[in-house]
């Protein structure tokens, strides 16, 4: 009973928020167009949060995703401005994400540096690199090819509703993450590492290699999100991804309050992402000051996590 109460607390909160916004914003909140807008606004965060879940399953986390997103946008934009074709810019940016993620994984699993310290370090490294190669300037206008930014504006018509490509891309990434974590033995092993790393190692799991791969996937996801962001605003600047990291971690934590034993699950992370996105959208429409919005979002995350841990029966320390 307490279990289900604990698990459903966050969902009840989410439902309350939805009801509140529907009542407060009649005719503007609960419309197809607004909901589609929300999913588009959320698509970058969803990608980062879903791939962040992969490392958080192992009790690790990655602070560098935000600056990696910025860096990947910059890398693509700089290559575009030098006249390289779109596909080359995309591949190069994703390659940077993969290499950056592998570097994180190398620091954490091979050198054994705490994820907090290692990824805090690479956060500044990636961010510095982004400033360096962009000269600290925003790259925009004619430097960004229409084929790239057009992607973000286009979509597919389903029943006369235009579903944006960004939303579909995010859904695809979520589906892949869900499959990898829930349906493959790779995912089983990651959860085992999160459950007890030492025991997993002694049971024959290649802990080092798996952590390396997981961090690489998270880096790749961050780079993808950075490209989506750059396409959506048709420009790239070296700080545009920085807000993603805290929101992504918050979304995974919100999700963890809903799972049975407090472990991260991609689908619950998605609910966390939706909560943050809906709140942001609703409060903006209510013309709540953006600073107050930040305070509210922070308090909501804390209260969800606190409710979940207070109602755990065996909490002693």
């Amino acid at each position: 009973m307490t279990h289900t109460l604990r698990q459903s607390g966050t969902l009840l909160g989410f439902a309350a928020i939805l009801v509140f916004l529907t009542v407060q914003l009649p005719g503007t909140f609960l419309t197809t167009q607004n909901l589609i807008n929300i999913t588009q606004q959320l698509s970058m965060l969803a990608v980062v949060a879903a791939t962040m879940t992969i490392v958080m399953v192992m009790n690790d986390f990655d602070l560098s995703v935000g600056s990696m997103a910025s860096l990947s946008g910059i890398v693509a934009a700089v290559l575009f401005s030098m006249g390289f074709p779109v596909w080359f810019g995309l591949l190069a940016a994703l390659g940077v994400g993969l290499i950056g993620g592998l570097f994180n994984g190398f620091l954490v699993s091979v050198l054994g540096i705490l994820p907090f310290v290692a990824t805090l370090g690479t956060l500044t490294v990636f961010s510095g690199t982004a400033f360096l190669i962009s000269d600290g300037k925003t790259i925009f206008g004619r430097d960004i090819p229409a084929g790239f930014s057009g992607f973000a504006r286009a979509g597919i018509d389903i029943n006369n509703v235009k579903v944006p490509f960004l939303t579909l891309a995010a859904l695809a990434v979520i589906a892949v993450c869900w499959f990898v974590l829930e349906q493959t033995n790779f995912g089983r092993r990651l959860y085992a590492i999160g459950g007890n790393r030492e025991a997993a190692y002694l049971a024959g799991i290649r802990v080092k290699r798996l952590r390396l791969v997981a961090f690489a996937l998270t880096g790749l996801g961050a780079a993808g999100a950075g490209l989506m962001y750059a396409a959506r605003v048709a420009s790239a600047n070296p700080t545009q991804g920085s807000g993603l990291m805290l929101d992504a971690i918050a979304a995974v934590f919100l999700g963890m309050t809903m799972s049975r034993y407090g472990e991260p699950r991609v689908m619950y992370t998605l609910i966390g992402v939706l909560m943050l996105g809906v709140l942001d959208n609703g409060l903006t429409q209510l013309r709540v000051d953006s600073y107050i919005r930040e305070i509210l979002v922070g308090l909501i995350v804390i209260s969800a996590v606190a409710t979940a841990s207070f109602s755990k029966q065996t909490r002693r320390v």
Binding site: T184, A192, E198, A199, A200, L202, G204, R206
Partner: protein
């Protein structure tokens, strides 16, 4: 002499009765054993005495005066002292700090901690235990398992002028589970001295031989109810087992079904690896070799060598004609199964399901198959007589014995060629122990070679064909178990290697 009376102790968790009207009567100067299988209510009873769990009903009297046990502080005030089974230590701080943890540290000018006094009090307590070889200034994490246990025990004897009334009751919760025979002897001596101070001693243990030897009386619980209580002189081993399990358990060890087969599984010749040296033995299919010695003579490290955790530096070692595995992953693939010593920290993912815990080393292919995992867990669980509600239950909810069975199920899937068992029955109750012995026997009769360590000498003698004795990492003796007694074996721990 104190007289402690506890009447009608009841405690329910929801509809489950953990304790159902249990009476317990303890006399100062006497050692009283509390026995029962896991889940019988021993832990709950101890928690009630410690004031950590509030009984639904309880009348407690010390020398006829009623007392209340509503908090840990209240229990401390009336003079109850507890020594717990789990070795929870803070590894980075000193032994002395660990021993005084939770007490008021002596101060200078009421402000700064008086470290000299802290160390002196810890030193005195250790000296009382006869364990003054432990350096109170060293980080507790540097101590080996036996010394950690001694440290925890000594912590109960630290003199505290502020809160200390005289102790009237010492409760020892399975203190010998992690100790070797020699260390246990040290502890028995201490227990005698505790009783001599006039305090009552409540001694919780799974080891019946130990209880019969050092205890004056014994109380047995089963399913939360009192089954028997009386002097140890009026009972015996078979009776206690019957009381604990409610049935007759063939007390001894299941007999070996077949003689070892000729095919060689492990061959070691003059191997040195890390702290180990002179390791020379041959292990054949179906054979069980025990590894024995004083605490930390290298028993666990010898097992770890076969998991690739302790690379060999010289000598010739082979596993089925090949070199030893390079890593745990490699070892499992080569048919080596391992049951680590620390069930909770090295063996299990406590929050994960029984099914996942069993299947972990045996996952193959890319896509996960819940169906295959469930089949595997079901078959092995039945074979192990695993008691659980369902296979998706997290292992944290199981008793120690059943958790150990989960690890056995993991190890024995697919019938490995070599099974490494590090203290396979530690903290496991009698009934589950017997199941585990049968499993080991069955596996070895099917051709598994077994290497096992144990600090329980009768267990080694009952289960093994031969016993390898280590002294400081060096192989000193290889003994045939036929006709060997526990005391013979113990004397070989000290006897120098024959030239």
């Amino acid at each position: 002499m104190n007289h402690l009376e506890f009447r009608n102790i009841c405690k329910s968790y929801g509809s489950a009765k953990a304790l159902d009207g249990v009476d317990l009567s303890l006399r100062g100067g006497q050692v009283h054993a509390l026995m029962g299988e896991n889940g019988a209510g021993k832990s709950t009873l101890i928690k009630v005495l410690a004031g950590v769990v509030h009984a639904d009903a309880l009348t407690a009297k010390v020398d006829g005066i009623e007392i209340t046990l509503t908090s840990a502080q209240a229990a401390q005030r009336v003079g109850f002292r507890f020594i717990h089974q789990e070795l929870n230590i803070v590894p980075q701080v000193s032994v002395a700090e660990n021993m005084l943890l939770g007490r008021t540290f002596p101060r200078r000018f009421g402000l700064a901690v008086d470290w000299r006094k802290v160390n002196a009090r810890a030193q005195d307590a250790l000296a009382f235990l006869g364990a003054d070889h432990i350096n109170v200034g060293a980080p507790a994490g540097d101590l080996n398992t036996g010394d950690r246990m001694l440290m925890k025990i000594a912590a109960a004897f630290v003199f505290d002028p502020v809160t200390d009334e005289r102790a009237v009751l010492y409760v020892l919760d399975e203190p010998t589970a992690a100790l070797t025979s020699a260390e246990s002897e040290l502890l028995f001596d201490v227990i005698g001295r505790l009783a001599a101070t006039g305090a009552a001693v409540l001694y919780v243990s799974h080891r019946i031989d130990e209880v019969l030897r050092i205890c004056d009386s014994v109380t047995v619980l089963r399913d939360g109810q009192l089954v028997s209580s009386g002097p140890t002189s009026e009972t015996n081993k078979a009776q206690i087992i019957r009381d604990m399990t409610g049935r007759d358990v063939a007390d001894a060890y299941p007999t070996a079904a077949a003689a070892p087969r000729p095919n060689l599984i492990v061959g070691m010749a003059g191997v040195s690896a890390g702290p180990l040296s002179d390791i020379t033995f041959e292990l054949r299919a179906g054979e069980v070799i025990g590894i024995a010695g004083l605490a930390n003579a290298g028993q666990s490290i010898l097992l770890e060598t076969f998991m690739g955790l302790n690379p060999i530096t010289s000598g010739h070692a082979q596993l089925q004609g090949g070199a030893l595995p390079r890593s745990p992953e490699h070892a499992w693939k080569r048919g080596v199964a391992y049951l680590p010593k620390e069930r909770r920290s090295e063996g299990l993912m406590l929050n994960m399901s029984i099914r996942s815990n069993i299947a972990l080393p045996h996952l193959t292919g890319v896509q996960a198959s819940v169906r295959r995992e469930r089949q595997m867990a079901e078959t092995l669980g039945r074979q192990m007589r695993l008691k659980c509600e369902h296979l998706d239950q997290p292992v944290a909810q199981l008793s120690g014995g059943n958790q150990q069975k989960v690890l056995f199920a993991r190890a024995l899937h697919g019938l490995p060629d070599l099974v490494l068992l590090d203290e396979p029955t530690r903290g496991v109750d009698v009934g589950a122990k017997y199941d585990i012995y049968c499993t080991v026997r069955e596996a070895s009769s099917k051709g598994c070679a077994v290497l096992m360590t144990s600090s329980d000498l009768p267990e080694l003698l009952g289960m093994c064909d031969r016993i390898l004795v280590l002294q400081d990492g060096r192989q000193a003796h290889m003994l045939d178990c036929d006709g060997l007694s526990s005391s013979d074996l113990l004397s070989y721990f000290y006897a120098p290697k024959a030239a």
